[in-house]
Symmetry: C2
Amino acid sequence: MQHSTQRSRRSFLQSAPLVAAGGLVACGQAEQQAAPAVQSQQRFKWKMVTTWPKDFPALGTGANNLAHSIEALSGGRLHVKVYGAGELVPASGVFDAVSGGTAEMGHGAAYYWKGKHEATQFFSAVPFGLNAAEINGWLRYGGGQSLWDELYADFNLRAFPVGNTGVQMGGWFNREINTLADFSGLVMRMPGLGGEVMRRLEVTVKALPGGEIFQALKTGAIDATEWVGPYNDLAFGLHQAAQYYYWPGWHEPGTALECMVNKQALGALPADLQAVVEYACQAANDDMLSEFTARNSQALKTLVDEHGVQLRRFPDELLAQIGKVSAEVVAEIAGQDPFSSRVYDSFDAFRKNSIAYTHISEQAYTQARALTFG
Amino acid sequence: MQHSTQRSRRSFLQSAPLVAAGGLVACGQAEQQAAPAVQSQQRFKWKMVTTWPKDFPALGTGANNLAHSIEALSGGRLHVKVYGAGELVPASGVFDAVSGGTAEMGHGAAYYWKGKHEATQFFSAVPFGLNAAEINGWLRYGGGQSLWDELYADFNLRAFPVGNTGVQMGGWFNREINTLADFSGLVMRMPGLGGEVMRRLEVTVKALPGGEIFQALKTGAIDATEWVGPYNDLAFGLHQAAQYYYWPGWHEPGTALECMVNKQALGALPADLQAVVEYACQAANDDMLSEFTARNSQALKTLVDEHGVQLRRFPDELLAQIGKVSAEVVAEIAGQDPFSSRVYDSFDAFRKNSIAYTHISEQAYTQARALTFG
């Protein structure tokens, strides 16, 4: 590559009023402005409630990293104290706590709030949806962020993408899965829309918190489970409770994490600290995917080489059948109300273009590389 | 996914002294410290020289966005003026200008500096190397950044990843390419290691600046060219000069952009502004890949639907042959000196693990999705 002279626009920043005020407008005016001395000395102490146990690998530590970066960027003027799930409010109470102002900031994933609105799920992960790069593209340059802002405004919140797990794994099974018939009668832990898809494939779906998965699988209370990917699954020891590790994770192809911020709390910050919150989230978004990418590939090697885990791929025909049911389940959300319909249409149009482009770029490249280096 | 209680470390931040000083150490001490009033009012004016024409799509505008974010994050205390290629120094002079202090900051890609050291190329793109997510994983959590720091310290520089193009396209051709014989005698524009690979496949390789590509291809001075991807290639009008658009871009599978900073200039900033530079780069790293992901998929649709471009895939056998030669070319860099050997070993080990993991995650997922939604 190298050079031309065309102009482009940065739709994400332009759609974000706080940066328009703090950044684009301020740019070039530095020499005329006096330093905002009073603002720059004012100190703020915020609480960040999270849906993760304290220091949970990559996700809880991601919340810690975000707080550290805000501290560093603000020179200590915005101090954020991180609370693990249950320390200030339970995991399920994070949304309400930030919406109501009990905490200024929350860290989790949007699909946890489907009880508030089904459309929240498009901003984290849907079966056969967007991968990590694609969901970031949709949010920042495809209209996704403004829809998210519109949805969360009703709850007195702003939300920012703050990390991504990448493609998750398809789950742990104690028997091989070759056809739909092998799913029938299985008792499996799988939350969310993926769980709904499995339910329609005659799987008995159980909702279990993470901390109970290992014991349930070990004792046979469940036959199968999904969790995240090699890094987190190894930490849970799931390889000690099931033999087959299936791929790919069709149900969560690039789960976006969210940082939500109470609107009044954000608005009360001076413009530079508003920018600190926004850009710290964007840096964290980059960092967490990097961590998952590196640690998952290392953990996979450990699982296979040291623990003898059997990797299995869902057969093509089965994946196509799961895909068909997934499309129905996701499209049903669109039918629930006009806003959900708009989100679905935007998401689905972006997915169509992404599939065509990913086919000739990432997908084709990784295939080609595997021919020689695999 | 959902929950556990394991600890992890953030190797990237820990290896970056400037944030250790400004961020991790400061965290939790906010209440004991007085605000550094003198520092926080001090203003800095920096120059950023770039290898791109001013406002060049996604790359030059990415440099502008970086300057805007630094302005916003610093509340105007660090003002960065962006210079297009040739405005202050030519594109090829960016490295020396920042190294020598003519400018405090530079924006380009590390492989432009292979004349300084061949190993620079590992920090941007190598044929059949790492994709965007993988190179970020290697840099931040796989030891890549500390090798980059070591290399650039000799030149009085710090470097930060500041964007990524994603997988590029394989190039524009005026005839179909089915076997190695079809390459023979072709005159093609392809820079860097990819160009060296093509040279060994009996292609006559020409180095042309971006601005001359269209005319050369249109007049038949060259038979083929690579550029970036659909977004940038459409802007150049390359579809008006060649019929076949080949994929995938084996030669640049996820080109990382770099921001380099003069070490003394960085060290002269107060800790919070040092953090501003680092985190602004990380946010920009996230942003540019999002922009390329969204705009490339849209531009591909335009190229095919509106301009009737013929998409062609390099055949498997040909890709495997190119891969073999690529492996030789890249491994030769390792033989040049002990440092290059260390970089190659680190990169290659990361690639091996990444190929295994990507095979069962991104690669498998995008294949599975195409079965139903393609």
